[in-house]
Amino acid sequence: MALIEAKRLTKRFGDFTAVDGIDVEVSQGEAFGFLGPNGAGKSSTMRMIGCVSPLSEGTLRILDMDAASDGPAIRARLGVVPQEDTLDMELTVRDNMWIYGRYFGIPRSAVKERSERLLDFVQLTDRADSRVEALSGGMKRRLTIARSLISEPEILLLDEPTTGLDPQARHVVWERLFRLKQQGVTLVLTTHYMDEAEQLCDRLVVMDRGRIAAEGSPRALIEAHSTREVVELRFAVDEKVDLGPLQGLAERTEQLPDRVLLYVRDGDSAVAELSRRGIAPQSVLVRRSTLEDVFLHLTGRTLVD
């Protein structure tokens, strides 16, 4: 059974269509990702799933209930990690856990027991009596995650869970999220980090301008929208690159200001062919295709704000 089932899900703000009739299904125990540049409609979609934003059109069923009419009952079973930390700055770490549990109407003794366990889970036990203001960005994020788990949610919604965190903090968050997934919690997350999507998501959709541009597992998306390997060629800065001799070498060739990308099935044989043709770039790098290649191919390289 699908835990989340959206059909022709649409969100409009005046004349602007943020989400343009998307169909999404998320199954029990899955880690599902919305991937896309800024303004693609990821956060609007997440807010609708979180039942804090009414749909403009379409239907949305969550946990076999209707998002339009059963908001409070659905929210009681969701955990939400919003994009910006919305921790209560006037309270301590422990009090943040406590009051959030009370918002859900969870009995006092249960809130107390779960708070201690969850603070331990996100490694914040020794900061329990600190004011939230004094925490680092990574600690705030971990606290937000711990807080979202106080109601023992069946679905955890994470809007850009590691944006703005340093690499150490990101890895800690990933590792905790992975453990939650192992415990059977369904994860729905948005991200514009490809490595995050590859690390965490079983399945994802790439969103672009309110629509779904592609859907599948990270591996399937790479297979469908990119080649197995990519050869990156760098030439000297002043050298005028002539793409002519490169013709027929790759399935797709892309010229960027600082390098040329060759999308090929076998990188090593492409490099051998290069030298046979007498092309000598300053440097050559053979790497596997990543989700980033798919992403940039599907959503373009133009900067979005």
Binding site: G50, V52, S53, A73, T86, E90, Y100, G105
Partner: protein, 271 residues
């Protein structure tokens, strides 16, 4: 009741049992935050007290007796005290609006609450209840002072406390509703602009008969006048049917403020 009211009651009543916990949690959050910041709220209590000491007792010693609600003569400080009690009940609601503005705009407290089963009307109820509690706390303190100074004359004064609750509810609800319209801290000045003239001219310091005919009508409709008149009747006597009218005024004021606050929170945050 009209059909609309029936529908409203049918929709709200079944949800009240669940609402109690949600509203309680909203109030609990405010009490927890107030634990660290209890000095600021004290000003709302001291302001009317200082007026009582300086104007009521200080200036009052130069003024003779003046007519009370029933036309009988009362001392000036006896006359002023009920009015200041009304304004202390008002202050809770008015001062709390700054907190509501902060929580909504900067603290993102309501965004957090709305991600849980809590609904906009629960937040409205909780915040108004907290503002009311603040006003009532001031009123209780002020009543204590009045009792100690021997400023209470009528046995009806027992009703002054529930009356102060009603006044606190009316002002708390409207203050909270107003806070949802603020965009910047500067907008708070509008509140001051409304409250200060009301405090000075709502027959706080002299009887209504001081005003000319049409001005009397203007003063009569202001909420603080209604509160002053209600408490003056209860504390100085005699109590008439008009007290019921004043009380109804605050019930209506509270109901409108509550409904408006709930609608505004929904409109602003559930987009």
């Amino acid at each position: 009741m009209t059909v609309g009211q029936h529908v409203l009651v049918a929709r709200i009543l079944p949800r009240l049992p669940g609402a109690r916990g949600s509203v309680g949690a909203v109030v609990t959050r405010d009490l927890m935050a107030a634990r660290r910041n209890w000095i600021v709220p004290l000003s709302g209590f001291f302001e009317p007290l200082l007026y009582l000491l300086s104007l009521g007792i200080g200036l009052g010693s130069l003024i003779g007796k003046i007519p009370g609600p029933g036309g009988h003569l009362v001392g000036y400080r006896e006359f002023v005290a009920p009015a200041l009690l009304a304004s202390s009940a008002m202050n809770g609601g008015i001062f709390e609006s700054a907190n509501v503005f902060f929580k909504m705009k900067f603290g993102k407290i309501y965004d957090t609450m709305l991600a849980t089963p809590i609904e906009p009307i629960h937040i409205a109820l909780g915040e108004i209840l907290y503002a009311l509690m603040r006003g009532v706390t001031y009123s209780v303190g002020f009543l204590g002072v009045m009792l100690a100074l021997g400023l209470i004359e009528s046995p009806w004064a027992l009703l002054a406390l529930p009356a102060a609750v009603l006044i606190g509810f009316g002002f708390g609800a409207c203050g909270t509703a107003a806070a949802t319209y603020f965009r910047t801290w500067q907008d708070m000045e509008w509140m001051t602009l409304a409250v200060l003239p009301m405090f000075l001219f709502s027959t706080t310091f002299y009887p209504l008969s001081t005003y000319d005919g049409w001005l009397q009508g203007v003063v009569r409709v202001t909420p603080l006048y209604q509160g002053v008149a209600l408490l003056r009747e209860l504390i100085l006597g005699p109590v008439g049917l008009s007290a019921v009218g004043h009380a109804a005024y605050f019930v209506a004021m509270g109901a409108v403020g509550l409904a408006l606050t709930g609608r505004r929170i929904k409109h602003l945050l559930l987009t």
